[in-house]
C-alpha cells in the first residue's frame, strides 16, 4: 500500500530525465542534446547531397587541409615524422579529432586535449569528406545510430561500460591515468556522436571497439549510460570528483578532523 506508493515515488526519482520536477540543468541538457542532434543531422544531410556539392565540399576540405593540417600530416595526408598518415582513417576519425578540438594540436605534448574546435561544423565536415575521399574508412555515424534514448538500455550500457571502458575512463566516466603521462579523458559533456566515433576509430591511445564485438545497439546503450551518469544529480551530497576513496580520505583529513580539532580547541579555551 503505502510502501508501494513510496517505492514508485522513489522509482521516479531516478527517472529524472522524464520527470517534470527535474531541475533546470536537465532542461539545458535536453536542449543541448537536441541541438547536438540537429547539428549532426545537418552535417549528415550535407554528406548525402548531390555529387556536385560533395566534390565541392571535398575540394574545400582539401584546401583547409593544405592550410591547417598538411604541415604535420603531409601534403597528401601520407603522414610525417610527428603525425600519422590519415589515409584510411575515415571521416569519423576526422570528425572526432577536429570536431572535439583535439586537432589541430596546440602543442606537441603527449596527448591532444579536448578544446574549443577551431573549425566550424561545416568546415569539419568538409575536412572529413576530403580525408574519406582518400581511402575508405569508418564513416560518421548517422542519426539512426545515435538515437540512444530509443535504442539504448541504460542498465546494459552500464555493464558494457564497466567491462570495456571503466578500466581507463573510471567507474563514473571521469577519466583516469595511463602510462607516461597519457590519460583517458573524462566523458562528461562529450557529444554522443563523438563518443560513438571514438569507439569505432580508436583515437590516440584508445583501442578500437569493433561493431561485431560491441554492436551498434550496444554502443547506443553505452552512450545512454554515460548520458544518464552525466545527468544524474548528486544523490548523496557533493560528489568529490567521483574518483573514489582518495578525495574522501582527503576530506576526512581536512574538513572532518579540522572541524573536530577546531571544536576541541574552542572547548579547551578558557572563557573570559
Amino acid at each position: 500500500m503505502d510502501m508501494n506508493k513510496e517505492r514508485n515515488t522513489v522509482k521516479r526519482l531516478s527517472r529524472l530525465r522524464r520527470h517534470r520536477a527535474a531541475g533546470p540543468v536537465l532542461l539545458v541538457f535536453a536542449l543541448f542534446t537536441i541541438g547536438t542532434t540537429f547539428q549532426v543531422a545537418s552535417a549528415v544531410n550535407t554528406t548525402t547531397q548531390t555529387t556536385a556539392d560533395r566534390s565541392a565540399a571535398i575540394e574545400e576540405g582539401r584546401q583547409l587541409f593544405l592550410k591547417g593540417c598538411s604541415s604535420c600530416h603531409g601534403i597528401n595526408a601520407e603522414g610525417g615524422v610527428v603525425a600519422p598518415s590519415l589515409i584510411g582513417v575515415g571521416a569519423a576519425s576526422v570528425d572526432f579529432q577536429v570536431g572535439t578540438g583535439r586537432m589541430p594540436m596546440a602543442d606537441m605534448s603527449q596527448q591532444a586535449m579536448r578544446k574549443t574546435p577551431v573549425y566550424t561544423p561545416a568546415q569539419v565536415n568538409a575536412l572529413a569528406l576530403y580525408v574519406a575521399s582518400l581511402a575508405p574508412g569508418p564513416e560518421i555515424p548517422g542519426d539512426e545510430l545515435l538515437n540512444y534514448e530509443r535504442d539504448g538500455s541504460i542498465a546494459e550500457g552500464g555493464e558494457l561500460f564497466r567491462t570495456n571502458c571503466a578500466m581507463c575512463h573510471n567507474f563514473a566516466a571521469q577519466g583516469g591515468a595511463l602510462t607516461k603521462g597519457k590519460y583517458a579523458p573524462t566523458l562528461m559533456g562529450v557529444q554522443p556522436v563523438h563518443i560513438y566515433e571514438a569507439m569505432i576509430t580508436g583515437p590516440q591511445a584508445m583501442p578500437v571497439f569493433s561493431d561485431k564485438t560491441i554492436t551498434p545497439e550496444e554502443k547506443a546503450s553505452i552512450i545512454a549510460w554515460i548520458k544518464s551518469v552525466e545527468a544524474e544529480p548528486q544523490l548523496g551530497g557533493a560528489a568529490l570528483g567521483r574518483v573514489g576513496p582518495v578525495t574522501e580520505g582527503l576530506l576526512a583529513w581536512t574538513l572532518g578532523i579540522g572541524l573536530l580539532i577546531g571544536a576541541a580547541v574552542w572547548l579547551a579555551m578558557k572563557a573570559r
Binding site: 573510471n170 591515468a177 603521462g181 560528489a239 576513496p245 582518495v246 572547548l267
Partner: protein, 529 residues
Amino acid sequence: MTARERVAGNVAGFVDDRTGAAKYLKKSLSKVFPDHWSFLLGEICLYSFIILLASGTFLTFWFDPSMREVVYDGAYVPLQGVEMSAAYASALDISFEVRGGLLMRQIHHWAALIFMVGIVVHLLRVYFTGAFRKPREFNWVIGVGLLTLGIVEGFLGYSLPDDLLSGTGIRIAEAIIQALPVVGSYLSYFAFGGAFPGIAFIPRIYTVHVLLLPGIFLALITVHLMLVWYQKHTQFPGPGRTEKNVVGYPLMPVYMAKAGGFFFIVFGVTAFLGAVASINPIWLYGPYTPGQISAGSQPDWYMGWLDGLVRMAPPLESYIFGYTISWNILIPGLILPGIMFTLLALYPFIESWATGDKREHHLLDRPRNAPNRTALGAMALTFTLVSLINGGNDIIATTFDLTINQMMWFARIGVIVLPPIAFVVTKRICLSLQRADRELVLHGRETGRLVRLPHGEFVEVHEPISAEKAWTLTSHEQLAPLELPEFDQAGVRRPAAIRNKIRNRISRAHAVAVPKATETERKELEGHH
C-alpha cells in the same frame, strides 16, 4: 529539602543500599581531568566508535549479507535488471528505498574514516609528547592493537557492499593470502569456502565485522579507558604542575558537560559530512565481477599507504624447487607492515631500554625537548606519507599533470631517501627551537621596539618573559647519556659489551640537547645589563 531532592535522595539510597556505589562514585565524580585540546583526540575516536555502533546497527536492519544472485528491480534505474549479489542489492535498497538510509550509510562510512584519522592523530599526540612512557606502556600497546584492528575492521566494512570497488579490494586481499608460503592457497580456499570469489566470503566477514571485531574493540576500549582513569591523565608542564599532581577540572559537572557536549559535536560534524559530501557511491561502481575494473581503484585512506607500498615494490619472485615465493607481495603486504607495527608497539620499551630511564612520567614532553624521539617520529611519518601518496599516484598524476611513472619513481626513491632526511632536519629544527627557548628565557621577548642609545647605537628592546613562562620553558629535565661499561676491569670486552655499546650510542643520540637556561645564567646576564 524540596520534593524533587527527596526523590533523588531516595533513588540514590535505594541503589547504594544494594551496591555500595556511593563510596566509589563520590571519589569518581571529583576525578580531575587536565584541559587541553589535544587530550580530546582520543575522545574523537571513542565517540566515532559509538557513532559507528549506532549507525552500523541501523544498517544491519536492512543489509542482507548474502552472495546469492538476484536481479535488481529497485529504485535506481541505471541498474534495473542487472544481476548482482543480494548484499549489493540490499546496500542499494538502504540507499534508495529506506528514508535516511543513504544518510546513515554515509555517516557510517565518514565515521569510520574519522575514527581512523582520530586514532592516528591521537597516536601522534601520545608519541610526540612522550605520554607512552612508564606507567602507560600497556595502554600504548592496546592503542596500537586498536589501530591495527581498526584497519582490518575498516577494510571489512569497505568490502561488505560487494560493489566493484570492494570486490577489487577483496581480490587483492585474496592475492595476499594466496601468496603466503606453504599454506597460502589452503588458507585462501578456507577463507573463501573454495575458489575466489565463491559465495561464502561476505557472510563470513559480516559476522567478523558486526560481531567479533566490535566485541574485541569494546573490550580493548574499556581497558584502555579504565587505565586512563586509574593512572590519571598526563598533563603538559606548567606552573604548579608536577609529576606528583594533576591540575584540571573535576568530572562533575565541568568535565562531564564538556565531554558529553563533545560527543554531540563529533556526531554533529559526522552527520554534517554525511549530509553534504557523498562517500562510496556504490550505485555508480556497479556490482562486482572479476572481469571488470575501474581506473583509480583505491582502498580507503588507512589502507592507502599499504597499497602504495605494494605499488612501488620491485617485481621480485623466487622460484625454488618448483615453489613460488612472491616477494613483491609479501614484503610490502606483510613483512614491512609487520615490522612497522611491531616496532611501534614496542617503542616505549625500546626507548626506556636505550635511555635507561625507568621512572614514572606524568608530565608530558614538549616535542622539541625530545629531539631524537621527535625526529624518529617524523621519519616514520615521512615513510608512511610517501607510501600513502603513492597509493593515490594515479589520481595525483592526472590532477597535477604528472605521470604515474614519475610518481612511482619518486616514491621508490623517496621512501628510502626522504625518511633519513626528515630525521636529520627534524632533529635540527628541535635543537634550534630549544636554542630559541633558551634565548627567550635569558634575554626575553623581542618587542620590535627600537631604541637609540646615547652613543648612537640602535638596540631592540627585549621584554622579560613571565615567571610562569620561564618555568614552562625550563621545567623539563635533560638526561645525561648512559655510560655503560664496554670493557670489564681486566680491559676485556665483555659478552654484553656490544649491547652496552649500542645502548650508549642510542642514549647519546637521545641526550643531545641545547642546555636549558638556568636562574644562575639569568642573574649573570642581569648583572651585565
